[in-house]
Amino acid sequence: MNRAEKIKYEWFGNIRGDILAGIVVALALIPEAIAFSIIAGVDPMVGLYASFCIAVIISFVGGRPGMISAATGAMALLMITLVADHGLQYLFAATILTGIIQILFGVFKLARFIKFVPRSVMVGFVNALAIMIFTSQLQHFEGESWIMYSMVALTLAIIYLFPRITKAVPSTLVAIIVVTLITVFSGFGIRTVGDLGNISSQLPIFMIPDIPISFETLAIIFPYSLALAIVGLLESLLTANIVDDMTDTESNKNKECRGQGIANIASGFFGGMAGCAMIGQSVINVKSGGKGRLSAFVAGLFLMFLIIVLGDVVVQIPMAALAGVMIMVSISTFDWSSLRNIHKIPRTDAIVMVATVITVVVTHDLSKGVLLGVLLSAIFFAAKISKVKVTSISSVDNSKKIYKVDGQIFFASVSDLVEQFAFNEPIKQVDIDLTNAHLWDDSAIGALDKIEMKFEQNHVKVQYIGLNAESRLLKRKIGGLSKASGH
């Protein structure tokens, strides 16, 4: 396929499926965009504008057709303190900076570094996200009546049971319509979206964030932007892999990084908050038959259309319905298989996963959890492979001894290694068999030099056998240096 054909295929290869799926996604996006705005502490319009801008822009510049990006919980959770301490304008600026950082990630092809985030950290990430979305809803229950509780229960019941009747209409939409109608006509007087913010039936307009352009501003927003950029890309690339798998196709990860960046910059300039790809919505999109770029485009456009036409209705959605939807989102985000299998996976993986979750829940910052998880995994990994096995065989006349070394020789394993040699034996020669060993760094060569030196002090000759090519090269380059300086 040439370029023009590919673009045509990605846009118009599946018109009917994409339009229908896009409409389904738009309907499911509205309550989430509003709820995520409320989590972040901003007006619902900020999340709705963000979802519109990001979905539409990403349909042109994203690397994974069929994936849905919009305002997300993971991102909303990161901006709570920024909004509370500095206000909305700083959020717009941070969103733009997030986009710039993400574009740099794409330009320098850093998507491949995602593989350094181990899967136990990714599992911890999604589980922490699920827990945070759930706990963010608890505030809506405070001081509420049993009417509100039963409305939440009704919402959840419809969400989970309605698909048994038909899957043609998204069950979250049915739940919201039913619960909203009950609230409006019964006059229960429970809190609605309108009590927490405004919905304006207007298209977003371009504006430059009203902030002082100074180093101080940058110092405020940069930590937020960096965390937003990393978390956004992490969730986007994970989602891209899931969509790859579901559709059995490939995607361009670096283009996706750039695309996420461009979309966030647009979002920031049009009064939206930072967003990223959404696992749940992307799965809904593919399941509903969407797989082309058109699906994300239609989702964004239809969402904006609905808000303009139905803005007055949307403010009447009770918070109970949104809380119910968010509880569903949290349940489906959580990776339940990780709980079922926690006793089966290696203990260190389980520790990393749990540590990631705890860090996020305590710090309210997904990026800190990921950072700690990656560091912890690295330490566990180093500890695991730093186990070196040394076995020795003596020759018949006891004049020669062969040491066989198994394992990775590097800074973490050398102290173990040296201790496993006996230097005071009355022998003439020692062979060190490194067939099953690999020398990795300066410390490895230093350790061998030290062993050699100690043997030579006792007038024992040392010979190496079975050094692999890479290890030999390293030894030739830096071997003997530490020995020479030791004398």
Partner: protein
């Protein structure tokens, strides 16, 4: 009749038992058994989250249906495996109808009433919509 059999599997015990019945029938008529395994959206999510890369994900899935496949090939019946993506029920129905199978064999998961209400029964969907005879193994 019954020369071209499709065995729907999820790698579970139920589907191994279903395989035994498929083998019995195939041996009577000297037929072939093709395996179909459907990866749905949630399984995709879990597998990708826990897999290192797509090659490992693919390997793990093949590993999952291996007990069933081994059972069939060990008695010398030709067997091809197909891994599909989508909703299990409709995907199996479409695959079976498009490829003109003579018989579809499927294991029943043995869900209780509540689970059936929420999860739905794949075997029931297959039973209703596949054009050829269907054997549901309990």
């Amino acid at each position: 009749m019954y020369k071209k059999i499709l065995l729907a599997t999820d790698g579970s015990e139920h589907s191994v038992r279903a395989a035994e019945h498929a083998i019995e029938i195939a041996q009577l008529k000297n037929g072939t058994i093709d395996i179909v395994y459907v990866v749905d959206g949630n399984t995709s999510k879990t597998d990708v989250l826990h897999g290192v890369d797509k090659y490992e994900v693919k390997k793990e899935r093949e590993e999952k249906i291996k007990p069933v496949k081994d059972k069939i090939t060990s008695v010398g019946i030709p067997c091809e495996t197909n891994i599909l993506h989508g909703e299990p029920g409709p995907s199996i129905v479409e695959f079976a109808n498009d490829n003109n199978y003579d018989l579809v064999v499927v294991g029943s998961r043995g869900l209780n009433k509540l689970q059936t209400m929420i999860l739905g029964s794949v075997s029931h969907k297959i039973l209703k919509r596949v054009q050829c005879p269907v054997l549901v193994v309990k």
